[in-house]
């Protein structure tokens, strides 16, 4: 008897039952609200918003097909290819995956960007002189995934290892150069006044 009373009291203290001993209506958070909460955490963690703004800015800048930065005296051009993952923190949609050869520069993607979904992950092709690299980049870590390096020129195994390491460093340097260029613009006075309005105008076609 005493154990039953203790159990009932504990349930009451936990808020599982009311004074009448009946189960209370659990206050359940709206599923969409929970989802948006997680999306906000993802955006803030490791300042991922900077990475998303960078990849979105890069998508805009790359559309013209012109070299975006110079590395070791040679221009670097960027092309977004096939796959794109967009993420946002408001509205009903928090993630959109776009696939297709023309998908990254499509009107649908631009519309989604205008709605506040920014590029979180993308497959890109970097051309630096005669060398072409392909890699998937993510906004939070800027890790390089599934990268294809240019064909090796050397045949000796030791030399091939050195050459691959050099190519990996070059790919890293390309990413850093583009990120550095973005950060310069991002921290400058023109970001809010000029760049963001121009980006929004591009999104709206």
């Amino acid at each position: 008897m005493a154990r039953r009373e203790a159990r009932e009291e504990a349930a009451f203290l936990r808020g599982d039952v009311g004074v009448d001993g009946q189960a209370t209506d659990r206050e359940e958070r709206d599923e969409a609200e929970v989802e948006r909460g997680k999306a906000r955490e993802q955006l803030i963690r490791n300042r991922a918003w900077l990475g998303r703004e960078f990849l979105t800015w890069l998508l805009w800048r790359s559309e013209a097909g012109e070299p975006l930065v110079e590395l070791e005296g040679t221009g670097v051009t960027v092309l977004f290819i096939s796959k794109l993952l967009l993420r946002g923190v408001q509205g009903d949609v928090v993630e959109v995956a776009a696939r297709g050869a023309q998908a990254p520069y499509s009107a649908q993607v631009k519309h989604a960007l205008d709605e506040g979904l920014l590029v979180h992950q993308a497959r890109l092709r970097f051309s630096h002189g005669e060398r072409a690299y392909e890699a998937t980049l993510d906004a939070e870590f800027l890790d390089v995934r599934s990268a294809k390096l240019p064909e090796l020129l050397t045949e000796e195994e030791d030399d091939r290892l050195q050459e691959r390491l050099h190519l990996v460093e070059q790919l890293s340097a390309v990413v850093d150069a583009l990120a550095g260029d973005f950060l310069e613009v991002r921290a400058g006075r023109g970001w809010a006044k000029k760049t963001v309005p121009a980006l929004k105008a591009w999104m709206r076609g």
Binding site: R40, L43, R45, N46, R47, E53, E169, D176, L183
Partner: protein
């Protein structure tokens, strides 16, 4: 070895290395790798189910790290080996089921919760000795000249584990080469890099941003 062929996946860090990295590279590298060297699991001895540490890139069973081993020009190349004993759950369940049936037959009653838990531990210990560990090696390249570090792994958990091990063994300080890390290195901090509300479609409060970054 992903360093040698195929597509490549790697996490990027920038390391601040101690002076000895450039003045006495061979000894510094050898000492650091030995300090964090891989120790094989001994199923018979301890209760550890996982072991991780540095191994030589060319021979994943070797942790000799002779002076100069793993040095390729300006790069130090080594592996991070993770051995793990994973007892398949269905196997454990089947063994326990057999034990319970035998117990009931012998004692004429069902095993108590305590007896069942005790038997489960004993069965897990027995299976543990029979199960060979699975082994994975992730390559690491570190430029002792520039401090660029590449961890050739896709799993973020493994990447974090390796970066912590490098910091500890190499007396180095690693920062990720992501936008936040690059901004920090360029001395760009503070409000100028706050989230752009016009792009995100929502304004985030400074307190929320600070909380998320902490």
């Amino acid at each position: 070895m992903p360093l040698l062929a195929g597509t490549v996946t790697f996490a990027r860090f920038q390391a601040e290395l101690p002076k000895t990295a450039s003045t006495d590279t061979r000894r510094w590298l050898s000492r650091a790798l030995k300090q964090g060297a891989f120790q094989p699991l001994d199923p018979a001895a301890g209760a550890e189910d996982r072991s991780a540490g540095f191994v030589e890139l060319e021979d994943h069973d070797s942790t000799t790290f002779a002076a100069g081993a793993g040095l390729e020009g300006e790069y130090a190349l080594f592996g991070w080996r993770v051995d793990q004993i994973k007892i398949p759950a269905p196997q454990l369940k089947a063994e326990l089921g057999r034990w319970l049936a035998k117990f009931e037959q012998e004692h004429g009653r069902k095993a108590t919760r305590g007896e069942k838990a005790h038997a489960k531990d004993a069965i897990r210990g027995m299976l543990r000795q029979r199960t060979p560990p699975t082994s994975k090696v992730h390559d690491v390249s570190l430029s002792w000249k520039t401090g660029a570090v590449q961890v050739w792994a896709a799993s973020r958990g493994v990447v974090d584990e390796i970066s912590e091990a490098i910091e500890s063994a190499f007396e180095a300080s690693l920062s990720p080469r992501n936008l936040a890390g690059l901004a920090g290195a360029a001395g760009l901090e503070g409000k100028s890099l706050a989230p752009t509300g016009a792009l995100l479609g929502v304004e985030l409060s400074g307190a929320e941003v600070d909380r998320g970054e902490a």
